[in-house]
């Protein structure tokens, strides 16, 4: 099974914030490239040092190829390629405008609308939608063997799965037209349905918001409506792609108790959505040297260890230094005890086949340097490394 993750066409890393999703996505990309594939990593916000290390300083909303020299030093064979691109919500929406706006005037109207200019990010699900849109677009181009999508951190599981539906579902263009166009534009049915809207609702809303605000909102919604037909079709295609057997979701989890709890919630949502989880990456666990179990010393054993170490020291601060060092070691042991067997426990809870759970230790060196990323890449595909 080793490397089976990498045989898919699309890998989506999901998880809550702060678990190292972006780094895992980059390492997956590198691992696939090392196996001779042409890979693209779509990321939200890469660490500057990660981009620097990959030779794509100042990564933005354009696909950038990792330079050949960097790939070679990272063990990527000739013929394989690794590219990266940073997702930008506003830019993706601007592109949607270019594609679907009925005329340049409508396009300009949206671009100048204060709501569009300032609140695209706040529009429910817009970040998630734009990530999916970009994924779909690049996948359709068929240039890559594998696309790794690093999703926006969702504290509330899988906003991005709902995003296409939410965005298309709520902008019922017929409704908006009825609400905002003058009454004469309404058909009979519409008039009956939204009589309240035309007679009472708007004047009431207007009493509070004032006419300018209402006009701004209606302009925004009407202008956006022009995009919606295209986007709606797109959303269905995206939904299909996400459920395709060649698409795999990888849940990235951290060892903190909160992160563990959130992972379970996440998985539940995936399950409800009938999304199949391809595997799980338990990131940043605290290792303990092989061949030992992390010990829990009682007070007497701790005192004994301190005494023994202090006796071996020939410095004035022997006792204080020995105490500090033993406590440092015991803290590491406590962290390792907490994280011990976490991969197996979580995998069992979900439930996942043990072969689909990878455990990545907390590296002492910078994972954003090429070497660290390479080490993580190996751990992601190595079969032996299971806890």
């Amino acid at each position: 099974m080793s490397g089976a993750w990498l045989d898919r066409r699309v890998l989506v890393t999901v998880g809550t914030g702060g678990v190292g999703k972006t780094t895992v996505a980059a390492a997956l990309g590198l691992a696939a490239a090392r196996r001779g594939k042409n890979v693209l990593v779509l990321t939200i916000d890469p660490a500057r040092r990660l981009a620097d290390a990959l030779g794509v300083t100042g990564l933005d909303h354009e696909v950038r190829e990792i330079p050949r020299a960097v790939l070679e030093s990272a063990g990527v064979p000739g013929g394989a390629a690794l590219s990266a691109m940073m997702l930008d919500t506003k830019r993706t929406f601007d592109e949607l405008l270019d594609r679907y706006a009925p005329d340049p005037e409508a396009r300009e109207r949206i671009l100048e609308n204060p709501i569009y200019r300032n609140l695209t990010d706040a529009l429910a699900g817009s970040r998630e939608y734009s990530a999916m849109e970009k994924l779909y677009q690049l996948h359709s181009e068929g240039k890559y063997d594998l696309i790794v999508l690093d999703t926006p951190p969702a504290s509330h599981a899988l906003d991005f799965l709902e995003a296409p539906r939410r965005l298309t579902g709520f902008l019922d263009s017929q409704l908006l037209r009825l609400l905002f166009l003058p009454a004469r534009a309404m058909g009979r049915t519409g008039f009956r349905l939204f009589r309240l809207g035309s007679n009472m609702l708007l004047p009431l809303v207007e009493r509070i918001t004032g006419i300018e605000f209402l006009r701004m909102v209606s302009e925004f919604l009407l202008a956006f409506e022009s995009l919606w037909e295209g986007v709606g079709e797109r959303a269905r295609e995206i939904d299909k792609l996400l459920r395709d057997p060649a698409t795999g979701f990888l849940l990235v989890v951290g060892p903190d108790p909160v992160q563990r709890r959130r992972a379970a919630e996440f998985w539940e949502r995936l399950d409800q959505e009938e999304i199949h989880l391809a595997g799980m990456v338990v990131n940043r666990i605290h290792d303990w040297p092989a061949g030992h179990a992390p010990p829990a010393l009682d007070e007497a054993a701790r005192a004994k260890a301190i005494d023994q170490l202090a006796a071996r020291l020939d410095v004035p601060t022997a006792r204080a230094s020995a105490t500090a060092l033993i406590d440092l070691i015991l803290r590491q042991a406590a962290l390792a005890r907490r994280d011990q067997g976490l991969g197996a426990t979580l995998g069992h809870e979900l439930p996942l086949d043990a072969r689909d759970v990878r455990v990545i230790p907390l590296f002492a060196e910078d994972v954003h340097a090429l070497e660290g990323l390479g080490r993580m890449a190996e751990r992601l595909v190595a079969e032996a490394d299971r806890v």
Binding site: G18, I115, N118, D121, P153, L193, V258, A324, H368
Partner: protein, 325 residues
């Protein structure tokens, strides 16, 4: 009470924000506990879809769910509110239109509901409006609520929340919406009453996002409070590190692994500590406000008991930051 703690708790509205996963809810809950311990009537307000606060703050018995716009009592002087924009909007419309039946008619209208689903920005606006409303409530002459601690959404969305009054004020010149947004803006731009508290982790991306967050908050004309670096792994002072490592050579201490294994454990921890120190120095360099280092609690911050301990740690860290400054 130290100066930093006093100044923080003398504000009326604290927005706790930062990158996803940095521990905003834990910090907001701990701040609430600190204030309540000083007999300040405090509401910890949760904005967004997550429901973490009730679990963090409740004791043995579960809290009532609440109606989305009325603070729910938790313990002496401590309240929590999971702010529901829909509930706050209904309340607002009732205050404005004064006829409850009319409001029900509006809010219950399917057309209006669809409009709400589609219209961006109103959730942010009504959220701030509700915070203003809570801040302005009076019990006789005194404010009903001493302090509002907002567990705000993650950076990007958190900034949308804080910038929405600008968007409205740029467009709307007259009418109640203008007047009310002016009030809201007046509150959040008043540094004697409102501060934004960025929470971050000693890692590259959170540090970068914090830098951008702080710049944006300054541009919005909103005051910044102390910078809270969370998840700090305690590192002991080890002036004799070289001698200590040498002493581990060939040692067998109590039931610990052999000296060579211990040495690699210590070296690993010290390398991690250096990485952490680097990020903390970076944060300290660019921050005019005090940098507060919050320790990582091994058992996490998930229960009221753990929040109480985290609040102790927060108080000690705030005091330590003051000494540093």
């Amino acid at each position: 009470m130290t100066r930093v703690v006093r100044e923080l708790l003398s504000r009326r509205l604290l927005f706790v924000t930062g990158k996803g996963g940095v521990g905003k809810s834990s910090v907001a809950a701990a701040l609430g506990v600190l204030a309540a311990r000083r007999d300040i009537d405090t509401v910890v307000v949760e904005v967004g879809r997550d429901r973490a606060l009730a679990g963090l703050l409740q004791g043995d018995r579960p809290l009532e769910p609440g109606d989305g716009c009325t603070p729910v009592p938790v313990s002496p002087h401590l309240f929590t509110l999971h702010l529901e924009p829909e509930a706050a909007l209904t309340e607002y419309l009732e205050l404005q239109l004064r006829v409850r039946r009319l409001v029900r008619l509006v809010v219950g209208n399917p057309g209006f509901r669809r409009l709400l689903d589609a219209a961006p920005g109103w959730r942010e606006l009504i959220t701030l409006g509700k915070l203003w409303h809570l801040e302005s409530q009076r019990d006789g002459a005194a404010p009903r609520w001493g302090l509002l601690v907002v567990d705000a959404p993650a950076t990007g969305h958190g900034l949308s929340l804080l910038s929405v009054p600008h968007v409205v004020l740029d467009t709307v010149r007259l009418g109640p919406l203008r007047r009310h947004t002016d009030w809201v803006q007046g509150l959040i731009q008043d540094r004697t009453r409102t501060l934004v508290l960025p929470v971050t982790l000693p890692e590259e991306l959170p540090v970068k996002e914090t830098r951008e967050l702080r710049e944006s908050v300054r541009e919005l004309g909103i005051g910044l409070g102390p910078l809270l670096a969370n998840g700090i792994e305690p590192v002991p002072e080890l002036p004799e590190l070289g001698a200590l490592l040498a002493a581990l050579e060939g040692a067998q201490l109590a039931e610990l692994p052999d000296g060579a294994a211990l040495r690699s454990i210590v070296e690993h921890a010290m390398r991690r500590a250096r990485l952490q120190r680097g990020f903390l120095d970076e944060l300290a360099q660019e921050s005019e406000e005090p940098l507060v280092e919050l320790p990582r609690l091994l058992e996490g911050v998930e229960t009221r008991e753990q929040v109480e301990r985290f609040a102790d740690a927060l108080e000690a860290a705030l005091a330590a930051a003051e000494v540093e400054a």
